[in-house]
């Protein structure tokens, strides 16, 4: 039964490396291919190295030609890169996925209850579960939005929650992206590419479809249409063509068949939002906004900003237009709030969390701070409100100077930092330079919330392409894989 691993000792086949001490998605902690990977491993074994290399080149070229690209912040204008794509899909058996689905549904339900509470009664604060200071000091807590009723009481309509697996193969939640999570277009494009390149394999293994994401997203957006609007006009609001996720914005708008608009395409009259069209103003009812709260409306958030749609918040308050996600969801993906999510689940749902957090220390807690400062070389330190791998210290890889710099930053502003032990992320065989090598991966499923919670099977598997690296972000040399959720368990 070891045939697959054995048959390619020349380096072109999959090999287990249990001595490395990581959980391997394909081999677990042993040296046998796990049952749900067996068909895939066999199919890959039949492909020669040359054929694989050829498929890979074709795919890269196709991505570049289609402009499936992202922009890198801080890079010069217009610099686009393709998000490197790996040929070996990640496979999740049905049983495992069901548990993830339940865990994520539980989590998003609690987060939405929390947001409603925190912008209204703040019962969770009054009951002493979360200290008021943790909420009030959150950079993304929107005082302007206290007591505003949002449609159907849903705040987070679209959430991207990052999951990792530790060295025992245990799934842990790493963070929730509750503002404008991106990456779903790669899920859809990766699948399209895999279907084209590995049609036969795709059929024999049998993965659940992801193609209905756009329809589900549109339904989610239509669900929050203002009362009395039977056939709502939904638009996607983008910061523009230089945004790193612009490709995704255009892609999703096209898939949903809705307009993609920029701030200056919209204007407000008598508390209603309109878009400027060649036929004159057309009313807009739901805005899937892919821009931050700060840039929505200069009359409310950033009087110094000339971006945004003046009066938009006024129309929103009046209930004439709906926003997804709602304003102020950033407090839910604050890394300090992350610490409290398991408590939220217990508080609001009276349930035990299905998916645990990574153990976390708050620098603002008097008990935790000395521990963090003493153990910096072993910990991962994260700024509370940054994402994309920015503002982060990887203790074991950091230089003395970097550690000293973070020590200074943490001491200056403890509220802004959390620390976690380094989790040895699971690895996945990845095709690099003609060989299959183990590289660390995470998983970002995309969660849609309306009258029910919908999670398209799988999500974005990101892979750190550099040997030994634990950072999977696209801006830091990460790539992605297709993610296959099986109908069964093998």
């Amino acid at each position: 039964m070891n045939s697959v691993a054995d048959s390619h000792r020349d380096g072109s086949g999959f090999t287990a490396d249990p001595a490395a001490g990581f959980f391997d998605e394909m081999f677990g902690r042993g040296d046998q291919v796990l049952p749900h990977y067996r068909k895939l491993a066999e199919a890959f074994a039949e492909l020669g190295a040359a054929e694989l290399e050829a498929k890979r080149r074709r795919l890269d070229l196709a991505f570049l030609r289609q402009g499936v690209t992202f922009n890198v912040y801080g890079d010069t204008r217009g610099a686009e890169r393709i998000f490197p794509f790996d040929l070996v899909p990640r496979i999740i058996p049905a049983r495992e996925w069901e548990r993830l689905e339940n865990g994520l549904t539980q989590r998003i339900t609690a987060l939405n209850l929390f947001l409603h509470d925190v912008y209204h009664q703040q019962q969770i604060v009054k009951d002493g579960v979360i200290p008021a200071s943790c909420i009030l000091s959150g950079k993304h807590f929107r005082r302007e939005f206290a007591n505003v009723a949002v449609p159907k009481d849903i705040y987070i309509h679209i959430c991207g929650t990052d999951l990792i697996r530790d060295d025992r193969g245990e799934y842990l939640v790493l963070e929730d992206n509750a503002r404008c999570p991106s990456g779903v277009s790669y899920v859809l494009e990766n699948r399209r590419a895999m279907k084209r390149s590995f049609a036969g394999m795709f059929e024999s293994v049998g993965a659940r479809s992801v193609d209905h994401y756009a329809q589900e997203l549109l339904k989610t957006l239509q669900y929050i249409a203002p009362p009395g609007v039977a056939d709502p006009t939904v638009v996607l609001l983008t910061p523009g063509v230089y945004n790193s996720a612009y490709f995704e914005h255009a892609y999703l708008a096209r898939q949903m068949g809705i307009e993609i608009v920029e701030g200056h395409d919209l204007f407000v009259r008598e508390e209603h939002v309109f878009m400027r069209t060649t036929k004159g103003p057309q009313p807009v009812h739901v805005i899937y906004r892919r821009i931050d709260d700060d840039f929505l409306d200069p009359t409310v958030f950033r009087p110094d900003s000339l971006l945004g749609v003046p009066g938009l918040i006024r129309a929103y308050r009046a209930g004439n237009v709906s926003l997804a996600n709602a304003v102020g969801t950033g407090i839910a993906d604050d890394k300090v709030m992350y610490y409290f999510v398991p408590r939220m689940i217990e508080y609001y749902l009276d349930q035990k969390p299905i998916l645990p957090n990574v153990p976390t220390y708050l620098a603002s807690e008097e008990a935790d701070l000395p521990y963090i400062l003493e153990h910096l070389p072993e910990l991962v330190v994260k700024a509370a409100n940054e994402s994309g791998g920015y503002g982060m210290l990887m203790g074991p890889k950091a230089s003395k100077a970097e550690i000293a710099e973070f020590r200074r930053r943490i001491e200056a502003d403890p509220r802004n930092y959390i620390a976690q032990p380094v989790i040895p992320l699971s690895r996945h065989p990845t095709h690099l330079d003609g060989r299959f090598v183990g590289r660390h991966v995470d998983l970002r499923p995309f969660i849609l919330c309306r009258e029910k919670t919908v999670i398209v099977p799988g999500g974005l598997t990101r892979v750190a392409l550099r040997a030994g690296s634990l950072v999977v972000n696209s801006s830091q040399g990460g790539g992605s894989k297709d993610t296959w959720v099986l109908y069964g368990n093998e």
Binding site: G67, V241, E259, H264, M275, R276, T277
Partner: protein, 341 residues
């Protein structure tokens, strides 16, 4: 359709068409100038300048190049990004506009345009250019024609399509008039020209070639080239797809499709101006054109096309693009909290 989107589709088409026409102009003139290899520098300078003028960037050119030579003009019109109408700049602009409306164009169109964009920026493009300029120009022309064909074959005939078409034909009409003007300026200010020298005849053939019109011309007028026939073909011919009249009539049709108004002579300024220009081209003879002066007439046409473009912008786009000091967003003045003494 969003005004901004219409604007981008229109300009995407214009820039593609522009890149193609610049390639056409340069291609035939480079070949033509091989014939004049024995002339002196001043003469060559004088012959190249009108070509620069045809793309309307004489001042930018002078800022970058002291003399007009084959090399400097080609560099300027092919690669120079500072020249907003160079081939490379046009392709970049077209692609930038396409990027802003990716959800509105078909995958095929996008892929081809992206391909063209990657090509013009690649080192390989330079190499092809050095080895054989005609091969380079062919790539550009083929790509542009392919894009035209692709959108004709895949684009829904919706408003976006008609904006695309309007952009393409307004640009083509303008460029044809400029190509015709390159050698028209050597003619007497008014009246029909006398017989041509052999060099001048070659120049007029190059004009036809620029517009892919040489074969069609021979079938209509025979191989004997006279400026009168060349001008008639490129200005007034009803059926030749690069003639000014043909382009203006297509533009007129596109404008009417956009407004959806067909039961009145016109429903906005752009339609009025375009209908008037189309009628003029239809009810004019080439003798009248020459009697009034070819160059002046072409100037007028370019002016009208500009006005049509401006009117189109005002009618459909403007409110999305309010700029200038009066439309800046400013903060209301606030009063400091104080007790005056």
């Amino acid at each position: 359709m969003l005004s901004r989107v219409a604007h981008s589709l229109y300009w995407m088409a214009r820039y593609i068409e522009r890149a193609e026409n610049v390639a056409r102009i340069l291609d035939v003139n480079l070949q033509l100038f091989l014939e004049f290899a024995n002339r002196d520098d001043d003469d060559r300078h004088d012959r190249w300048l009108p070509i620069v003028r045809a793309t309307g960037d004489l001042e930018v050119f002078r800022a970058h190049h002291p003399r007009a030579t084959a090399a400097s003009v080609a560099e300027f019109m092919v690669f120079q990004q500072e020249n907003p109408n160079s081939i490379v700049a046009s392709v970049c602009q077209a692609r930038e506009n396409a990027r802003m409306v990716r959800d509105q164009i078909t995958m095929e169109t996008w892929e081809e345009l992206n391909h063209l964009y990657l090509f013009v920026l690649s080192p390989q493009a330079r190499q092809i250019w050095l080895d054989s300029p005609p091969d380079y120009f062919n790539q550009i022309k083929t790509s542009s024609l392919l894009l035209g064909g692709l959108s004709a074959a895949t684009h829904l005939r919706n408003e976006g399509w008609w904006f695309n078409l309007a952009g393409r034909f307004i640009e083509r009409a303008d460029k044809t008039s400029r190509i015709l003007d390159v050698h028209g300026q050597a003619l007497p200010a008014t009246g029909l020209p006398a017989r041509l020298s052999q060099a001048d005849a070659l120049a007029w053939v190059s004009v036809l070639r620029s517009c892919s019109a040489w074969d069609a011309f021979k079938s209509l007028y025979g191989a004997d080239v006279h400026p009168r026939h060349v001008a008639e073909m490129l200005m007034l011919n009803e059926n030749f797809p690069r003639s000014i009249r043909f382009c203006v009539e297509r533009l007129d049709e596109a404008l009417r499709q956009i407004s959806g108004v067909s039961d009145r002579p016109f429903s906005n300024e752009a339609e009025k101006l375009c209908g008037r220009l189309a009628a003029e081209l239809r009810f004019t003879s080439i003798e009248e054109v020459f009697n009034a002066g070819l160059h002046g007439q072409l100037d007028q046409i370019q002016l009208h096309l500009n006005q049509i473009g401006e009117a189109l912008f005002q009618t459909y786009i403007f409110h999305a693009f309010e700029t200038g000091p009066e439309t800046r967003r400013v903060q209301q003045e606030e009063q400091q909290q104080q007790q005056l003494p």
